[in-house]
């Protein structure tokens, strides 16, 4: 049986934890990714997709893997997971690695093949927590995205400095990290992608992204 394929970005925090003896690694930035050659995969190859992308980017990748008849476990922390499961039969499970957990524990959803994800996460020295739905950005990503977004609205309003916003939440309500610090640690694009998806799917203005957040994303490019 061929090794499972792991599609991963170069700066992904799990990159160094993936054992090349157990998994074939493919750079998400690889030119092969969206070509017919890539993926000259034998049918029913297990693919772990660890890319973080916008809904369109994720859809494009999954369409390609669906054509290859792969069995896909995908990071759906920035998209409408429930909708993706309806659209892609290749999806066997999903997880939410895009939002850093201070306890190294990550949500996953796979009603039929939970053990596959559990084993993968354990091989990367992470804990997994099986949840009842992939929802829209699972649970923790969605909550954190909203907390981070409000912190950037507060910066936009010049309510306080970034440092004071972080201090206030850590020492006033015992948050494990300040929201600005948290957002920078994992990259701002995860929050923007998820908020855009929430806004697009629900049409609810509560998910409007802070301009300051978008501006900082343009500056940092991550």
């Amino acid at each position: 049986m061929n090794k499972p394929l792991v599609i991963i970005e170069g700066d992904h925090f799990l990159r160094s934890k993936i054992d090349p003896k157990r998994y074939t690694l493919l750079d998400a930035e690889s030119e092969d990714l969206m070509t017919d050659d890539l993926v000259d995969l034998p049918a029913r190859t297990v693919v772990f997709d660890l890319t973080i992308g916008s809904a369109d980017e994720k859809r494009q990748l999954l369409e390609c893997l669906e054509d290859e008849k792969a069995l896909v476990y995908s990071d759906l922390s920035t998209v409408w997971g429930e909708g993706f499961f309806e659209n892609f039969r290749c999806l066997q499970g999903a997880f939410a690695l895009g939002y850093q957990s201070p306890k190294n524990c990550y949500e996953f959803y796979s009603p039929k093949n939970a053990s596959v994800i559990q084993e993968f996460l354990e091989s990367a020295e992470l804990k997994g927590l099986s949840v009842s739905t992939a929802g829209m950005g699972f649970h923790f990503p969605r909550m954190l995205a909203q907390i981070i977004n409000e912190a950037y609205f507060a910066l936009e309003d010049q309510l306080a400095s970034a440092e004071d916003l972080d201090l206030a939440l850590v020492h006033g309500v015992n948050y494990p990290k300040g929201p600005i610090d948290w957002s920078k640690g994992m990259g701002l694009r995860t929050t923007i992608y998820l908020l855009d998806e929430l806004y697009s799917v629900t049409g609810d203005p509560r998910y409007r992204t802070s301009t300051k957040l978008r501006l900082e994303f343009l500056k940092s490019n991550r």
Partner: protein, 287 residues
């Protein structure tokens, strides 16, 4: 910078602030319109120090110093030239404004006026006072229990002297607190930024209030997010009525901005009198 203080209001927050100030070496008058309320609060603080002494948290000498620093009084008897006055009375705008108006006439012009309010804009509270006093008026928002929680939001109102807020923040820092300087905006920092911890969790739960679903969200936020408590168990502890009142007040103050809109589930539980642990039922049931 601060050697003497008056803490107005001997409820939970006022008592906690007074206790912390006494421990920080400040001569504190714990004042209440009703002397017996201040006296009872004083007794509770003495008992708390006794318990902490027995646990070995403080030495007998330290406790003696703390006790010598704290005095229960009736408001009208307060020292008129204290360095700092912190108001922690009932969250009623008219009452607070009236009290500040009366105290402005009594207190020395050097006394810094502060409010521990979480509901009102500091600029509004100071608005009737002379400009000279407004320059020495700011928000000092402590967190419960004030002796343990390190954060103090130092809130600059419209006329507050910048140097006053900065110097006071530096003084708090020198005494082991963590000051966060902020502008005078609804909810200040914490009550604004923390709203989504509750609001988004309610949207994840929907209207069902199914206990298994709520437990799942609480577990995720503890085990994945690293938060000490999940949102539903925390709301039950705080009291759904209090949490809902803060949510509504921030939403109204932001002119009904959708990001702060309270959720129907919370409103319906409050209407039904299911307020959390204090009524033995909120999101969860408590036997």
């Amino acid at each position: 910078m601060i050697h003497s203080a008056v803490v107005l209001g001997a409820g939970t927050m006022g008592s906690g602030i007074a206790q912390w100030l006494a421990q920080a070496g400040v001569k504190v008058e714990l004042a209440d319109a009703n002397l017996s309320v201040a006296t009872e609060a004083h007794k509770r603080i003495l008992l708390s120090w006794k318990a902490l002494l027995e646990k070995g948290k403080f030495t007998p000498e330290q406790v003696k110093t703390f006790e010598d620093n704290l005095f229960p009084i009736e408001t009208s008897d307060c020292k008129k030239d204290s360095d700092l006055l912190i108001e922690a009375i009932i969250e009623n705008l008219d009452v607070k404004k009236q009290v500040f108006h009366e105290l402005d006439l009594l207190m020395h012009e050097k006394t810094i006026f502060a409010s521990n309010t979480s509901s009102f804009q500091i600029t509004t509270l100071a608005s009737r006072l002379p400009l000279k006093r407004q320059k020495r008026f700011l928000g000092l928002h402590f967190f419960n229990p004030a002796t343990l929680m390190k954060l103090v939001e130092v809130v600059r109102a419209r006329e507050t002297e910048e140097s006053l807020a900065k110097n006071l923040a530096a003084w708090f820092k020198s005494q082991g607190k963590v000051p966060a300087l902020c502008q005078d905006s609804p909810g200040f920092i914490v009550n604004r930024l923390a709203r989504n911890f509750y609001g988004e969790s309610l949207r994840l739960a929907g209207m069902s209030a199914d206990e298994n679903r709520l437990k799942e969200i609480d577990t995720i936020m503890r085990e994945v997010g690293g938060f000490k408590m999940g949102p539903f168990e925390l709301m039950d502890l705080i009291g759904l009525d209090i949490n809902y009142q803060v949510s509504t007040s921030v939403w109204e103050a932001f002119h009904r901005e959708p990001r702060f809109q309270p959720h129907r589930l919370q409103a319906s539980l409050v209407d039904a009198g299911l307020l959390g642990r204090k009524t033995k039922q909120g999101f969860y049931r408590y036997e």
